[in-house]
C-alpha cells in the first residue's frame, strides 16, 4: 500500500518518533565528505508547487538528490493549468510518466488530500493553505531535540515539561498548526501568544495575549512570520503595534534566559516579529532549522520510498 505524509495527526506519535530517529542517520550521511547515498536510485520525486516557495522546494530537491532519486519540478506558472487544465488532469498526466512521490505545496487547505485520491504515488504535503506543514514540524522537533539533547525514542514524553511559546499569526499559519501538534505529541506545553483576531475561532490551546506575560517562563520561543496583508484585513491595527505587544524587542531579548531556544520558520520580518539581530541571541537555532530541513526530508523520502533497510545508507553513491 502506498504511504503518504499529509499531516502530523495522520503520522501519529510512533511515526513522528521513527522519523526523528531516521533523521539522525541522514544527519550522519550529510556530515560525510560526499553526502550522497544510492538509497533511492531509480525513484522519481516530482515537486509540484502551486505556490512559490523557493526554500522548501530547494530543501526537498536537495534531500531527494542526496538519496540519488531523480527529481522533476513542476511550477504552475509554466504549466497548462494556466490554460484551464484541471489539477486532476495535470496530476494524472504526470503520474503516468512514472512518479513515485509527489511533493505538493498548494495555497488551498486540503489540496494534498484531493491529490491523493487521484494517484497511486506517495504524496508528501509541503504545505497546504492554513492547514498543515508536517515536514516543518519534523524539522522543528528535530532541531529542539538536537539542541537540547533530548531523547524522544521512548513511547511517551521526550519533551515533557518543555515550555513553548508560539507567537504571532496562529490563525493563518500551517506551521503553527503542525508544529503545535508535534510539540504536544512529544509532551511539551504550548502557549499560543497572539491577539484574538489572529487565533483560530475555536480551539483548546492555552493562550497569552502579550509576550511579556510568558517570556520569563519559557524554554522555546517560536516566532511566526507576521504578514503585511493582515493589516488590510483589520486583524491588527499596525505593524508597530504588533511589535509592541508581540515582537522580540531588545528589552524582551534581555529578559530571555541564556538557554531559551529562539526559532522561526522563515522568512523573517526583521524589525517586526524579530526586532533584534538574531545572531546576538545565545539560543538562536534558526539556521539549524534550515539545515535540519534536509535531514528530516531525506528521512521522509527514505521512509516512504526506500527499501526499509538502513544498510542502503551505508554505501556512497558512485
Amino acid at each position: 500500500m502506498t504511504r503518504s505524509l499529509l499531516s502530523i495527526a495522520e503520522l501519529g506519535d510512533v511515526g513522528l518518533r521513527r522519523l526523528l530517529e531516521l533523521s539522525d542517520h541522514m544527519a550522519e550521511v550529510n556530515r560525510r565528505p560526499n553526502p550522497k547515498v544510492p538509497a533511492l536510485r531509480g525513484k522519481t520525486v516530482c515537486n509540484v508547487f502551486f505556490e512559490d516557495s523557493t526554500r522548501t522546494r530547494l530543501s526537498f530537491e536537495t534531500a531527494a538528490k542526496r538519496l540519488s532519486a531523480d527529481t522533476m519540478n513542476f511550477a504552475v506558472s509554466q504549466s497548462s493549468l494556466s490554460k484551464g487544465e484541471s489539477l486532476r488532469d495535470t496530476i494524472e498526466t504526470i503520474a503516468a510518466m512514472g512518479v513515485d512521490a509527489f511533493v505538493i505545496r498548494h495555497k488551498s487547505s486540503g489540496a494534498p488530500w484531493q491529490l491523493g485520491e487521484w494517484t497511486n504515488a506517495s504524496v508528501i504535503n509541503a504545505g497546504d493553505g492554513w492547514h498543515a506543514h508536517p515536514t516543518q514540524a519534523l524539522l522543528d522537533m528535530y532541531t529542539v531535540r538536537t539542541a537540547l539533547n533530548r531523547t524522544v525514542t521512548s513511547s511517551a514524553g521526550g519533551f515533557d515539561g518543555l515550555r513553548v511559546a508560539m507567537v504571532g499569526d496562529i490563525k493563518h499559519s500551517r506551521v503553527a498548526r503542525s508544529t503545535t501538534e508535534a510539540f504536544k505529541l512529544l509532551g511539551a506545553d504550548i502557549t499560543w501568544v497572539s491577539p484574538r483576531t489572529l487565533l483560530p475561532p475555536e480551539h483548546d490551546e492555552h493562550v497569552a495575549t502579550n509576550l511579556d506575560d510568558v517570556i520569563d517562563d519559557i524554554d522555546v520561543l517560536y516566532l511566526l512570520r507576521m504578514q503585511n496583508e493582515r493589516m488590510n484585513e483589520a486583524l491588527v491595527p499596525s505593524l508597530r503595534e504588533y511589535t509592541t505587544r508581540f515582537g522580540l524587542t531588545p528589552t524582551r531579548a534581555g529578559r530571555l534566559g541564556q538557554d531559551v531556544l529562539v526559532m522561526h520558520p522563515g522568512p523573517m520580518n526583521r524589525g517586526v516579529e524579530m526586532a533584534v539581530d538574531p545572531g546576538e541571541l545565545s539560543g538562536n537555532v534558526i539556521n539549524q532549522q534550515v539545515t535540519n530541513g534536509i535531514n528530516v526530508r531525506m528521512a521522509v523520502l527514505f521512509d516512504l520510498l526506500g527499501s526499509g533497510s538502513e544498510h542502503s545508507l551505508a554505501g556512497s553513491s558512485e
Binding site: 484541471s86 489539477l87 486532476r88 498548494h106 488551498s108 487547505s109 486540503g110 489540496a111 488530500w113 484531493q114 497546504d128 493553505g129 492554513w130 492547514h131 498543515a132 500551517r174 498548526r177 483560530p200 475561532p201 475555536e202 480551539h203
Partner: protein, 436 residues
C-alpha cells in the same frame, strides 16, 4: 383515459384515510373508500382502457412543491437543463418547482421567465415556476420590474446566491412589493462577514485551516429583514435557514404576527460540518453545513411550524468543478431525488406534517396554492405523489436523472421513496421510472 388508484393511504390537509381515487382529464373525478371505485365500475362495463395503480402500502399525497431549485438553464446547461432537472423533480415526487433566477441571463425580465416556464412545459415532467430576481442581473443595485414580472406569473423574488446587501434598497423592495401580491425571498448572508469563507466557523474549520463562515452572517440579515417586514408590512420568505439563531429569530417574528415564512433544506437537517474533514467539495454549500446543535434547532423549527417548508436548494455542478480545491469549488448539492428519503429518515415527525412541509405549505408560499398542494377531492387538479414511506434505500449517483452527480448523500441510509408521480392527470413517473 382514466386512472384508478386503489387502496392508497391518502394523506392531505384534511387528514388521513384509506381509499380509491379516479382521475380523468387532469382532474380527480371521484374519491371513495378503499375498494369502492374499482369493482363497481368494471362491473358497469366502464372504460376498459383505465390504468389501475395498486397503491396498497403507498401513501398518496398532493404533489410535492420545491421552493428552491437551480435548473441552470439558460446558461449552465452542462450542469443541468430544465428537462433533466424536471425529470429529477418528478422522480423525487415534485409536481412543481420554483426555479431560482441565478441563470445567465438572469431571470430579471419577462422574456427570460417566459422562456424558463415554456421549457418546463415542453419537458412536461413538472410545473416550473420561475422566480424573478430582486435586482437587475442580481447586482444588488437596481430593482427589477416587479409588476411586469408579476403579470407574467412571478410570485417569488430573490437574488438567491446572494443576499441583497444594501438595507435601503431592500427597504424599497419590500415597500414597492407590498401592493403587488408578491413575496421577497431572502438569501441571508452579510457578505463582508463571509469573504473567502469555505465552511461553518467553529472548531472544525479551526483544525482544518479553512476560512470560517460565521452563523452571525446569516442571523444579522434575518434580523434586518424581520425588522424591514415590521416596518413595511410586506411579506418575506427566508431561504435555507441554517443556524439555531435564525430559527429563534423567525420563531419570535411569527409570535409577533409578522408575515414571514421560512424553509430548510434536507442537508441542513441531516449533515454536519465534520464531513468537511474529507476536504471533499461535495460538502461545500451555501449556507454551509453546520453543527448538530443547529440541526436540532432546525428540526425543532420544522416540528413547531417556525419553518414552513422543506426546500432542496438543488444545485447541480459538473464533476470538474467539484474536484477543485475547497476554496475554489462552487457551493451546492443535488437534492431533488433524495429530499423525501432524507426528510423521513431524519425528521421525527408525523408523516402528515412532513408532507405538509413538502406540499401545501410551500405551494402557499409560492403563490400556487390554487393548482398544487390541493386536497385530494373530486374536482381538484390531479397532481399527486405516491410514495413508499418505509422503504430503505441508498442513492446511486450514476442512476440520478440529474446531469450532475454532486449528491452528498452517498452511503447514507434514506427512508421513503417516490414510486409514482401524476402531473395534470398524467403518469410521469411509474414504478420509480420517468416515463419521458
Amino acid at each position: 383515459m382514466t386512472i384508478l388508484i386503489s387502496n392508497g393511504r391518502l394523506i392531505d390537509q384534511t387528514g388521513e384515510r384509506t381509499g380509491d381515487i379516479r382521475i380523468s382529464s387532469g382532474e380527480i373525478i371521484a374519491v371513495g373508500d378503499a375498494g369502492t371505485l374499482g369493482d363497481a365500475d368494471v362491473d358497469a362495463g366502464s372504460d376498459a382502457t383505465e390504468t389501475v395503480i395498486d397503491a396498497t402500502g403507498l401513501v398518496v399525497s398532493p404533489g410535492f412543491v420545491d421552493l428552491h431549485v437551480h435548473l441552470r438553464e439558460p446558461g449552465r446547461e452542462e450542469a443541468e437543463t430544465i428537462e433533466t432537472g424536471s425529470r429529477g423533480a418528478a422522480l423525487g415526487g415534485f409536481t412543481a418547482v420554483v426555479a431560482m433566477p441565478n441563470t445567465d441571463p438572469t431571470q430579471d425580465s419577462v422574456g427570460v421567465v417566459d422562456f424558463v416556464r415554456q421549457q418546463g412545459e415542453r419537458a412536461g415532467l413538472c410545473d416550473v415556476f420561475p422566480a424573478g430576481s430582486i435586482t437587475i442581473g442580481r447586482n444588488g443595485k437596481q430593482l427589477t420590474p416587479f409588476a411586469e414580472l408579476a403579470d407574467a406569473g412571478v410570485r417569488l423574488f430573490t437574488d438567491d446566491g446572494n443576499g441583497v446587501q444594501d438595507p435601503q434598497l431592500m427597504r424599497r423592495a419590500y415597500e414597492y412589493a407590498s401592493d403587488l401580491g408578491v413575496t421577497m425571498a431572502q438569501h441571508c448572508e452579510v457578505e463582508s462577514l463571509t469573504a473567502g469563507a469555505v465552511m461553518h466557523e467553529g472548531s472544525c474549520c479551526s483544525h482544518l485551516g479553512l476560512p470560517g463562515w460565521p452563523s452571525i452572517a446569516e442571523e444579522l440579515m434575518v434580523h434586518r429583514d424581520i425588522e424591514l417586514v415590521r416596518l413595511t408590512g410586506a411579506p418575506a420568505h427566508f431561504l435555507h435557514l441554517s443556524t439555531a439563531g435564525s430559527v429563534a429569530l423567525v420563531r419570535a417574528a411569527k409570535a409577533d404576527g409578522l408575515p414571514v415564512t421560512a424553509e430548510a433544506t434536507p442537508h441542513h437537517i441531516s449533515l454536519t460540518d465534520e464531513l468537511l474533514t474529507s476536504y471533499s467539495a461535495l460538502y461545500k454549500v451555501n449556507p454551509p453545513l453546520r453543527t448538530m446543535d443547529d440541526i436540532d434547532a432546525i428540526r425543532a423549527g420544522l416540528q413547531d411550524g417556525t419553518i414552513d417548508a422543506i426546500a432542496t436548494d438543488h444545485a447541480p455542478h459538473v464533476a470538474d468543478s467539484k474536484e477543485l480545491p475547497l476554496d475554489q469549488a462552487p457551493p451546492g448539492m443535488l437534492g431533488l431525488e433524495t429530499a423525501l428519503g432524507v426528510a423521513v429518515a431524519h425528521l421525527d415527525m408525523a408523516l402528515v406534517d412532513i408532507v405538509a412541509a413538502l406540499s401545501w405549505n410551500p405551494a402557499a408560499i409560492a403563490g400556487i396554492e390554487d393548482r398544487h398542494g390541493r386536497p385530494i377531492a373530486a374536482g381538484e387538479p390531479a397532481n399527486l405523489t405516491l410514495f413508499d414511506p418505509a422503504v430503505s434505500w441508498e442513492v446511486v449517483p450514476a442512476q440520478l436523472a440529474s446531469k450532475s452527480r454532486n449528491t452528498p448523500f452517498v452511503g447514507l441510509p434514506l427512508t421513503g421513496r417516490t414510486v409514482h408521480t401524476i402531473l395534470h392527470g398524467e403518469i410521469v413517473v411509474r414504478d420509480g421510472q420517468a416515463l419521458k
